[in-house]
Point group: D3
Chain length 330, copies 6
């Protein structure tokens, strides 16, 4: 076993060389050459198994940058419906056949993440949603996932590399770990204020040691006007973050004159919870699992024309599918 | 936007440098230094949200190879139960804190894939299961996914790079695409037989143009004893692969003297379908979506001891959790 | 046991003589005579247990042709609602009492079949529906069933005797049996074309040996413009007839210039399936089980007036039920 | 429309002549003759869509009495399981092809009725079950239905013609109609006792005018030791016949010394109700709808061998199906 | 055990003295005195766990008649919604703290009964509803329950003491017991007519010995114009009171000229049954279990202000809740 | 309206005088006298609508202490099954008829409470259960309810009057109200310790202001060995009391050397929650709503014998029901 690699994920160069391919595509090329068919002109279409938000085109175009195929596609961020054709490739089969595995994988996973992110953002309306999901995916795809979430509509991401790629500032405060090591939320809040640049918003996590409402007030009394917000991340074992909790923290902050302090919520959020927490007064949302563990959206590639003649395997409609939303992108 | 990269996935070096991290771990380090706490000795535990098969340790150890932390862990391929602690890290927080995101992501996704693969293999018993799922994940993680499937128990994989990493031969025949281009399954079968090395089993996909039973016989008549098997991959639009279809193809092959021809099935398989198709006579199973679109298994890291003192955030039990199954791995 | 009859079904003469009667009606006549009550004037009503389409009146009138009773009734083919009175008989009890069993049986079974047929026709709209259900009922009632289906709205029937009674031409092509015996659909299609009169539409069953789409094209190439339609009757073991199959066959026929070839579907149809297959492009529907295995609609006869006095057994409302839709039919 | 027949049901001679056939069998014969294939030797099998009790063989044998086919079959009254082959015909196709519609119809409906009857009898154990269902089927099949019920296990039937065919005495007392005309249950009970032969059991229906318990006692006081039983047929509008009612009537009869009076129940019975009413003390059961409105059991005929060669349409297993339970019956 | 009391229910004097209190309120007073806090000014609010009809205020005011607290409240009979504050007490805690148990118990049980009664009355519309539920509650609270039902909207009550307290005439006829002792409904009906004052409506229970329809007519023939109504209370064992029964009794009475006789129904009624029976012709309704076994509506008292400062325990919103519907009642 | 009473509940003397009776029993007596039937000897039975624990006999015997009836009954605390006869009264109808309403009400409500309490105690096993439910019932029945709970098996009660009647010490600590007024749990805990007698266990409610785990430790540090237990009563708004919370509080107490401190739980408990909380380490249970809001168990009285003759209304079995478990109690 060649397990002497640092990581098992594919390197960019390996992907580009077509090594991430199901072996039958290699065999296919061998056989087609044997039959002198390797330069057959075909039209292939990719359709989606479910409705969603289209994402991944940029990487697909990079993958095919050296080929002479024509590509027609939706734009990243556009909605597609179930069974809709989202991409069409026209050209010499040998120029893209080997990439089928990679093309479908890019589109399926990217669109899955973008779609989940879109639903969260729809639920949140004007209020910001931040993607916190890197910890649930392999680090090699974490930036792909967060970029897709951004395409789907989230306002910020927490992964440093993803933010770097997107040219934005990563968002996040400090974790429970820091507070546990310091032994006190107050101590951490004070230090945070001391070391962070002025333009960094002071948002403090308030559920580590004490009751959330109590700790929110304790921190607000320390940081005063400088406190931008508190983050509620109550674990399931304590009932999770609920509308009742948000309403109570809001009221207790207001009663003591801290109406400027925002309430940031996280922990097991999904579009429905975002909606009810928002109605209860939450101001911003950190979403992890719902976005990053979202299933891919199945993408299927079918050859629909061979040398100008409509064709299809049994079960599929021969000939290209008209879809006026597809635009020439290459 | 720095979208001038070839792909958005993280490079091995980026992961190793800790760039795939939620930003709050960077802030944590800054603050802990400010408080002179960066060298705090801690014990941190990772527990699983669901039961499953443990996978990903190899990459985690590579990630931490330069640290002096002690690590206790299950072995890859071992079962774990819901809420069980699967990994414990003891050492200087600064040596591993920044890697929390990556460690959890590796374990969560690898264990999710291994667990799904394990269930398929349990259903198939002695009969071979091959992982065909690369097309549903981003190409950067396809080899991670297929290696995890192997750890979970599958007998073969289809991705060339994954097979290369695992030091095995990739499995797979030829796709519908090749047959559509050639215009005839018989033509492809003949060519396949002509160009492939002798030790490559002749397994032909038989549902592209004709009825599966009819095409199975047509191919068997051409390749005779050399035909190792036929692959049924009937699309949903034609009822999918069913026990009735398997029984009928088996009987028709037998009636014409082709009892040596095996039946390989694929297309939307899951453990339950594997079981009923196996009972109906299927000899081998190609599984894609069920394995590669399996959700991650949530992994959570908790600091449980700080400088020798049991601690935990609200909602968790302070102090390390006894688990005799954990072994020192570093 | 007098099992020396050819069939156990009742002969017309046996029915007319009142031999198909529950024995208690014979006893009733004996007792009423003993009490000098045999000529009691009564009004009896028949009501339906469920809503439906009224059918069977013609036979009931034939049964009672010699009596002097007045009869009020709905017309055959009219809708009735649950619990509605559909028939009223007024007269000397001895003239019709013995026929209660037969009257109710005729109306219950005929209305059951007519109602099921009506629902199929509603689903099919303008497109033709043909009753194929004789094989699920005893041959003695097959013509009753098909005539009821016609009253309920179907466009054609397949049973020769029923068609004869209805004065129409029976519909149907050739069964799988013929094709199996001939060993080839093409051979049968050619022969069919040769021996059938010119005005007999050429509709060929295309699922015996080959894939439906493939066989449709093969037959279309043979019969060309003479081919009226293909019949899809895919068995459950191959996924049955689905909207996807219809769409694909339609498209493949069109692509090769056979737009004139109609698609006739059959096999386990019901109103819901008719609707979705029609939307997918099916042109005509052969319905068997749904019509012929339809349960009877319970019909109950109550005496509601005796010698001009309202009466009823416990649980029923005494006196005749006003229903302006009933018309004097005898 | 030739609606000048007395009834639309088929005459025995029409069935024997093969007029109750789907028209495609006529066409088949014409084409096979054209192809000189009319004398093809085939083996055809009939299998059942559901499990049940086999019935109808006698009529099938009468239908085929003039042919030279060999027939293998289960015996009437035997159980069969789902998908089991219940009948095999071997011979010249022209000798039986035209009868396929009638054969299947006979077996499907007869077995459906026999199966329902069997379930009722199983529930009743040693206690008698009488079939009262003629009123729910067309009079032409009423005797077929009641004979099938007898094959399925019932102890008696109510239809005069059916009883005559079976060589038994029809069972039944007097209906509500007689009591309503006489205006009093007591009057009818007295007259019944006066006019009926001594060996005719005195069973009186007790729910027409009064409460069942009250009327049972009133009648018992009149007929004393001569009263064999009372029949409870309480309509749904009064709660139907329930275990509580049976228990109460039993107790009230016993308390007044009428322990010899049996309780006969009817009205909407099914196996489950039979069981609970039997436990509550009911002595005999009259079953109508459950038996006579039972759906047919789908019977399908497949040609499995042509001129000695195994064959089958797509979806079925070629060649005859071994079933040791089949015995040569012709 | 001091079980030498006649009954275990609390005497009025015991309630007034605060003996029906959870012991922790006594301890509270002791401790607050120890801390010199017994005269703390507080504002306490009572909110409801479910929506309903408010009832019990009169007793609460009597309980607190000697205190100087200010009380704000809804009015008895008003609707409240889930979580709504229904009562606020402002004053010296020592004046009402000990009564918390009693106050909540009064409001919870009274509002539960009033709410159930309200729903029955809503279903009955203009037709009278009488509360028959005393037999399901302890006799000590029977008058509280019936008074609450009156507040909720019922038109009459059956308990003599409750009617006395409400200053109305108790309603009810005679029970099955009387008829069983007399051995005949007719005998009881006649006696009832003889001994009752003229203004007492003659309503007779008609299901003791005979069928309801039969007995209704028998009684109507005896009492003629004097018969105000019949009461149907058919037990479950005979199918209960159903719309069909009501319709039939109505029709049979009308047919014999007794249109003036009303139909009073009882036995397991609830709002839904009241509605369907009313539509079938029932004129009045006796409701027992649905009202008297109705669960209490949970009432919770929270201290929301202490010495003018908003406060609340964790989980509740500090400070008084604005509710303009509350009016000063003391 | 005579609403000038202090409370609407019945006084002991009113119950004894038979004023809590449905008015039809008064009318019955009047009519029976008119018919000279007031001294009829009857046997009446009470049966239960559901299974449960028998309770209320003591009050029933007090109610009938002056009559000469014979009474047969189960013992308080015994189990009864659905439909079982639990009480039989034999004697002169005039001596007990008027008490039917009260007798049934006492038994129905007392048995309902005892049954609910029994189920809680079954779930708790050896660990103590205390009834806290007075606040959900009218104060007049609070002691009846708590005595019934004791008969059903609870170990203690909180209502002062009930405890007094039962001759036991009432249980309970101090409510949230006290802590809110004092403004600090620590202050209250200290005061509690100062003023309470030594033999009064120190159990402190720990969820008013702070997180339960935090407050448990704070209080344990103050009271040390004197602290008997902490009470967790977490409101629904904070996730309620869960097994996770119990486990965590237990562990945190143990880690700081407070293993002697018991965990008392309350708040929305039912048998299922008691079981899971007990398994998680809870030591004692305070149950309110589940016991005190338990529905009554319907009790029905039937006259089964009149002057030695078996009788019953329609729907019931005449004559007394044999039940060897009934013992003569008067």
């Amino acid at each position: 076993m060649k397990e002497d690699r640092l990581f098992f994920s594919a390197k960019h160069s390996e992907i580009k060389k077509g090594k991430v391919t199901d072996v039958y595509f290699l065999k296919t090329m061998k056989i087609l050459k044997h039959l002198n068919l390797e330069d057959t002109e075909v039209k292939a279409e990719v359709f989606a198994g479910e409705s969603g938000i289209f994402c991944g085109l940029k990487e697909v175009l990079n993958l095919l940058e050296d080929s002479e195929c024509k590509i027609y596609s939706l734009k990243e961020g556009e909605k597609f419906s179930k069974k809709e054709v989202v991409l069409r490739i026209e050209g010499n089969y040998s120029e893209f056949g080997i990439y089928e595995t990679a093309i479908l994988g890019i589109l399926a996973s990217s669109s899955g993440w973008a779609t989940a992110a879109y639903k969260c953002k729809q639920a949140a309306g004007e209020k910001p949603v931040v993607c916190f999901g890197s910890r649930h995916v392999h680090p090699s795809v974490a930036p792909v996932m967060e970029r897709s979430a951004k395409v789907g509509g989230v306002d910020g991401v927490s992964c440093v590399l993803a933010a770097d790629i997107l040219g934005i500032k990563p968002l996040g405060t400090i974790p429970h770990a820091a507070i546990l090591i310091a032994g006190s939320t107050e101590k951490i809040a004070t230090a945070y204020d001391e070391v962070m640049p002025e333009d960094e918003p002071r948002i403090i996590l308030v559920d580590t040691f004490k009751d959330e409402a109590q700790e929110s007030l304790d921190i607000a009394r320390i940081l005063g006007k400088k406190l931008e917000g508190v983050r509620l991340d109550t674990p399931k074992e304590r009932g999770g973050v609920t509308p009742d909790l948000v309403r109570e923290v809001r009221k207790r902050l207001d009663l003591e004159g801290f109406s400027h302090v925002k309430i940031f919520v996280s922990g097991g959020l999904n579009p429905e919870k975002i909606k009810t927490l928002s109605e209860a007064g939450a101001d911003a949302f950190g979403v992890g699992w719902y976005i990053s563990a979202a299933p891919p959206i199945e993408m299927t590639m079918d050859i629909k024309e061979v040398e100008g003649k409509p064709i299809a395997k049994r079960g599929r409609i021969p000939g290209i599918t008209e879809n006026k939303r597809l635009k020439r992108v290459k």
